[in-house]
Amino acid sequence: MAAADVAYAPPMKSGKAGFEAGLMDPQHRIRITLSSRSVKNLEKVCGDLVKGAKGKDLKIKGPIRMPTKVLHITTRKSPCGEGTNTWDRFEMRIHKRVIDLISTPDVVKQITSITIEPGVEVEVTISDP
């Protein structure tokens, strides 16, 4: 039964988890927050994590994209006050993705031991299910 479930319907992973609850007791709700300034690296890491989690048949809520935070700094271009009042507009974009899992912490440690691109910050929050 368990095998059939897995083969047929990926969304039914919760059933499988329930079955095997006896083996791995401490199932936690795990939230992985990834943040970065570069979208490419972030998406890559995201994809790897999701792939890894799916490979271990965990219940996963796919990368939720948070709104990008744009930090602005607007300064005068001139070092002195003279001249036409021109302004520089600098911005820094922070992208955030959230991945929710239900699994044991060990598995999560394994998954996150993949090569992470530079510049991507990983934060893991573990809670009771």
């Binding site: 401490p26 936690h28 044991t104 912490p105 060990d106 440690k109 996150t112 031991s113 090569t115 992470i116 530079p118 910050e121 990983v122 934060e123 893991v124 929050t125 573990i126 809670s127 009771d128």
Partner: protein, 491 residues
């Protein structure tokens, strides 16, 4: 969760947050650790807690050291490692601060001499020639300088690129020398090789040894001094000019009469005569470093009597002389003295008198105005204060285009104006007398508002005008800065 308004009861914080950080001191950037970043009581047994323990255990030195370092002395193996690294043994575990070298970095840090690098260029006063073709002929007696120079010059070629000549044999020897040189005392020179060589000279072939000794003498003549003089003097050695000078010096210094060898024999080196004279002069000056300090007077006197007990006599002599002078002073008569008076003739005072100098300032810096009688003092503040007039006169007169209260402005003594003011005053006072009592407040407000408006307009106009001609002003300022006094500011 929107239902909870601000400041409602907090939810139970049973979660733990971890962050991935690269491990401190790790070579691999992928070597990361989960570090807890919140303060909740929630514990996750299978996560970062174990991780930190693992790291501490796997590090052999830090296993006990981490926990005991604060309390007792470090365990032995830890201390040994610290000492091996050359760090001080003061009870602190320096191993926790060590950093692993990255493998890539280690490979990159080994030195590979570059093939394209050019060695240091020669200094400007040095020129390099390739002398590989010069044949060094057998050394007969005839070392005719001219011929050898020609031979050498013919065969040498100028060299453009200078490479450091690395002979493989030499390189090998250099490499070996560091390692194998420590214990090779048999091959190396002994410390007293000079003495041995000197001693052995008299017995064996004199010529060869003499030539060898020649080279050492210049350097080690003072070293020889330190050795016992009871050993044989270097008699068989060819005497040089320096030896003679040394003997002379020794004679003068110590007063011994060593008249053994006065044979002047020129050695291989022949100094030019000027140098010899110089040296003699130098030596005769007897400038030497003695154990005690000597003034030049001492040196002069020393030539006459070379005794060190002069100091006591000196002081006695000085005292005697002082006494003599004192006596002379007392006894001499006044006529004998010739007092020379030197009068300061200040010639400047003859040329200048107080009428000719007005000021030491020059017209280049100062632009004195024409001197006039001081004018009437002009005061900025109005003599008539507002407080006074309200009691005397309830009406404030506005005059002029800008409708300003003339009486409250700084007074200007112009006769023309005065005449104008008075008749105007009379007509205006007639007009305003009627509604004076009732409308004072409104009138005041209106007046003040009007004044404000005028001033505002004036300011705006001024600013406009200023901006309009800003570039012109700048140019003018530049010109004024160069030519005129620095106090002028146009901008």
């Amino acid at each position: 969760m929107g239902g909870r308004g601000g400041g409602g009861g907090r939810k139970a914080r049973n979660f733990a947050t971890f962050r991935l950080f690269p491990r401190a001191g790790a070579a691999d950037p992928n070597d990361r650790v989960f570090v807890r970043v919140d303060n909740n009581d929630y514990t996750v047994p299978g996560f970062a807690d174990e991780d930190s323990f693992d790291s501490s255990l796997s590090d052999p030195s830090a296993g006990d050291g981490n926990f005991h370092s604060a309390s007792g002395p470090l365990p032995e193996h830890v201390r040994r490692e610290i000492l091996e690294l050359g760090l001080p043994d003061d009870g602190y575990n320096y191993l926790s601060h060590l950093r692993e070298l990255r493998p890539a970095a280690a490979a990159a840090s080994s030195f590979v001499p570059s093939s394209t690098a050019r060695p240091e260029p020669l200094p400007l006063d040095v020129k390099a020639y390739d002398a590989s073709r010069v044949r060094v002929g057998p050394s007969d007696g005839e070392l005719d300088e001219g011929k050898t120079m020609c031979k050498v010059a013919a065969k040498t070629a100028p060299v453009r690129r200078i490479e450091k000549a690395v002979d493989p044999d030499v390189a090998r020897l250099l490499d070996e020398s560091d390692v194998s040189h420590v214990g090779s005392e048999d091959e190396g020179l002994e410390e007293d090789f000079v003495i041995i060589a000197n001693r052995a000279e008299g017995e064996e072939l004199e010529e060869e040894d003499i030539e060898e000794m020649e080279e050492w003498n210049g350097v080690l003549s003072d070293v020889e001094e330190e050795f016992d003089f009871e050993e044989d003097e270097p008699k068989p050695r060819v005497r040089r000019l320096l030896d003679e000078q040394f003997d002379l010096l020794a004679l003068e210094e110590y007063g011994d009469s060593d008249d053994d060898d006065r044979v002047v024999k020129d050695g291989e080196y022949e100094l030019p005569s000027e140098a010899i004279d110089e040296l003699k002069l130098f030596q005769s000056q007897n400038v030497c470093v003695d154990e005690e300090y000597r003034t030049p007077a001492d040196f002069v006197r020393q030539k006459q009597d070379s005794s060190t007990a002069d100091d006591v006599d000196e002081s006695a002599r000085v005292i005697k002389k002082c006494a003599e002078y004192a006596e002379r002073y007392l006894n001499e008569s006044a006529e004998e003295e010739v007092v020379v008076l030197v009068s300061e003739s200040s010639e400047e005072s003859e040329i200048w008198d107080c009428e000719t100098i007005v000021s030491t300032f020059s017209n280049l810096d100062n632009h004195p105005g024409k001197i006039e009688t001081p004018g009437i003092p002009r005061k900025r503040l109005p003599r008539v204060f507002p407080g006074e007039t309200t009691t005397t006169n309830d009406i404030i007169k506005l005059h002029g285009k800008e409708k300003l209260p003339v009486e409250y402005l700084p007074q200007r003594r112009r006769n023309g104006e005065k005449k104008k003011v008075k008749p105007v005053e009379a007509s205006v006072t007639d007009k305003f007398k009627k509604g004076a009592e009732n409308e004072t407040k409104e009138e005041k407000k209106a007046r003040k508002a009007a004044v404000k408006e005028e001033k505002k307009e004036a300011r705006k106009a001024k600013k406009e005008l200023k901006g309009l001609y800003k570039s012109e002003t700048q140019k003018a300022q530049k010109v004024a800065a160069v030519t005129g006094p620095s106090s002028i500011r146009l901008i």
